[in-house]
């Protein structure tokens, strides 16, 4: 699969100052850790800066001109980000990261216990089940464990097949299931979940579907309305945007009924010492002073990605993935953890090297300027499932080149030589 329109990567790279630095005594940086956090183009940093230099003020709280302008910038950011994922502006809640977004849903559900009639559909208790998968990132796992602890519900999970897919042959979704939560794309395996099938099964039993879209929204066209999920979460920093901002998407009628999570300023309707009522969404879920400049930055990132086109982004990253899978598979003693072909797959390539711990592989690569991630990548149970304590992982973004993939493969070979296993 070749990109339909090849990207002008050199031109793109010129927008990312950090990619031009050197590391470890003069080696050009080869950044293959965008799955952890992506780099930011100057357009994003400039957008934040110009917001700060011209319009910074409290949003939704002031009547002076600066505050009007800041509010406009913030709400325009929301609208652009919403459009990017097939949502309406009022379906987009800003959080600090995807982790908060997922916690928001989990806590909203346990708060339903004391929130009256309207929230009854969210109440969980003993006998109810939450279904996830064994490949989840800790951020889409621990919040559900804790929700179960708070409510007495039971956590269940789909196992993972040897080639890194959710094992749908093991049915886990039953009449008891109230929530089905899973990653759109695994941050370790790169495999893309069968969303349609899982949504279908969840709908059959009336369970809510929560999609962890952290690794899909940055890398391919995603339309939450078309996917027909109930909630979805993603993070700004993985998609060329700022840290400190994440997004929760929710279907309108669900957000309207979900009880608040964080409470305080800006999310209220009427406050008395005795009792408080709450604003409609999305404000209900945005307590306190919001991340205004970060929203502006994220909108600039969305504009940047849209300017390239998410189809082109995806095609480019898939081509790099193909090269990496090919190059690494040719090295004896290297084993890919995850699908070895490009079917339903994105650009995270995790692997183990026989006889060398991932940390040591990473160190040799780092010494050559190649930055990858090593460890369990916040998916510890998944690593246990594959019988490994740690993997090395390369992840790609729009600014990576085929030459960088070559540097990765050569670095792994060098590690094998250094440790005498090749």
């Amino acid at each position: 699969m070749k990109p339909a329109v090849a990207l002008d990567v050199a031109k793109i790279r010129a927008d990312f100052p950090v990619l031009h630095r050197t590391v470890r005594g003069g080696r050009p940086l080869v950044y293959l850790d965008s799955g952890a956090t992506a780099q930011r183009p100057r357009q994003v940093v400039d957008a934040e800066r110009s917001f700060l230099e011209q319009h910074n003020a409290a949003v939704h709280r002031g009547a002076h001109q600066l505050s009007e302008e800041a509010t406009d910038a913030y709400e325009s950011a929301r609208a652009r980000i919403a459009a990017f994922v097939g949502a309406l502006p009022e379906q987009i809640v800003f959080t600090k990261n995807a982790t908060e977004a997922l916690n928001l849903v989990a806590y909203g559900m346990s708060n339903a216990a004391t929130a009256g009639e309207d929230a009854a559909r969210f109440v969980l208790g003993p006998g109810d089940e939450v279904v996830i998968t064994e490949l989840e990132h800790h951020s889409n796992l621990v919040p559900w464990q804790e929700l179960c602890k708070r409510t007495g519900a039971t956590l269940r999970w789909f196992p993972i097949t040897d080639d890194g897919r959710i094992d749908l042959s093991q049915e886990r979704i039953t009449e008891r299931t109230k929530v089905v939560a899973f990653a759109h794309q695994s941050n370790v395996l790169g495999s893309i979940a069968p969303v349609q099938e899982l949504v279908r099964r969840a709908r059959e039993v009336g369970a809510l579907v929560v999609l962890d879209a952290c690794q899909s929204v940055p890398h391919m066209p995603v339309d939450f309305a078309a996917l027909d999920v109930d909630f979805a979460a993603f993070s700004g920093h993985k998609m060329l945007g700022p840290t400190g901002i994440g997004v929760l998407y929710g279907r309108s009628e669900l957000l309207a009924a979900l009880p608040p999570f964080l409470t305080g300023g800006s999310m209220i309707e009427l406050v008395r010492m005795e009792e408080t009522t709450f604003a409609p969404p999305p404000q209900r879920f945005e307590a306190g002073t919001p991340m205004s400049s970060q929203a502006v930055g994220l909108a600039a990132a969305v504009d940047y990605l849209s300017g390239i086109g998410m189809d082109a982004v995806h095609a480019h990253e898939l081509e790099l993935t193909r090269l990496a899978l090919e190059g690494l598979s040719e090295l004896p003693g290297v084993r890919i953890i995850g699908p070895s072909d490009l079917t339903d797959r994105g650009g995270a390539v995790s692997f183990v090297v026989d006889g060398i711990h991932a940390h040591d592989v990473g160190q040799v690569l780092d010494d050559r300027g190649v930055a990858i991630r090593v460890g369990h990548h916040c998916a510890w149970p998944l690593h246990r499932r594959f019988g490994v304590a740690a993997t090395a992982r390369a992840t790609f973004a729009v600014y990576n080149t085929p030459e960088e993939v070559t540097a990765l493969v050569e670095g792994v070979r060098a590690a094998q030589e250094f440790f005498g296993v090749a």
Binding site: R24, G25, I356, H357, A358, H359, D360, Q363, V364, D367, V374, G375, H376, W380, H383, A389, A390, F418, F419
Partner: protein, 147 residues
């Protein structure tokens, strides 16, 4: 290539032929430690005779640095008093956490000086310290047991 700074021959030797590897019976105290950032694990056992560390054994699931460090630890503490071993531990910890500012003392640290290069890689310091933390914990457990 700066790699050799970290992976000195001594470290690679210990990594390939780790001393004390394989859990032994009997033992007086055991500690299980993990490195939450990378998932590395160690189970380490100590055997004491009064104040003297008479044996150390361990099972380490980890990188070359953590394995070599457990091996060096075994060499450095077996046969010493608990007090002396704790001094070595302290010197080792100071050196690895110093970012290269502390000059290691070979008289105290023996093969441990080879880990001076690790001090420059903060993300690996925890690897070098994993077995030492397990040792410290095992000793304090053995003392709880005794008290």
């Amino acid at each position: 290539m700066q790699l050799e700074q970290m992976y000195q021959e001594i470290i690679l030797d210990h990594y390939r032929n780790p001393h004390g590897s394989g859990l032994k019976e009997p033992y007086d105290a055991e500690s299980f430690q993990i490195n939450p950032t990378c998932g590395d694990e160690i189970t380490l056992r100590v055997r004491l005779d009064g104040e003297t560390v008479t044996d150390v054994s361990h099972e380490t699931l980890g990188c070359s640095i953590s394995q070599a460090s457990a091996s060096v630890l075994t060499d450095l503490v077996v046969g010493r008093s608990v007090g002396e071993a704790m001094k070595v531990l302290q010197a080792f910890q100071e050196m690895t956490q110093s970012r290269g500012t502390v000059e290691p003392d070979e008289d105290v640290l023996g093969d441990g000086v080879a880990f001076a290069g690790v001090a420059k890689y903060p993300a690996r310091v925890k690897c070098a310290l994993l077995s030492w933390m397990a040792f410290k914990d095992a000793i304090s457990r053995s003392q709880e047991g005794a008290a």
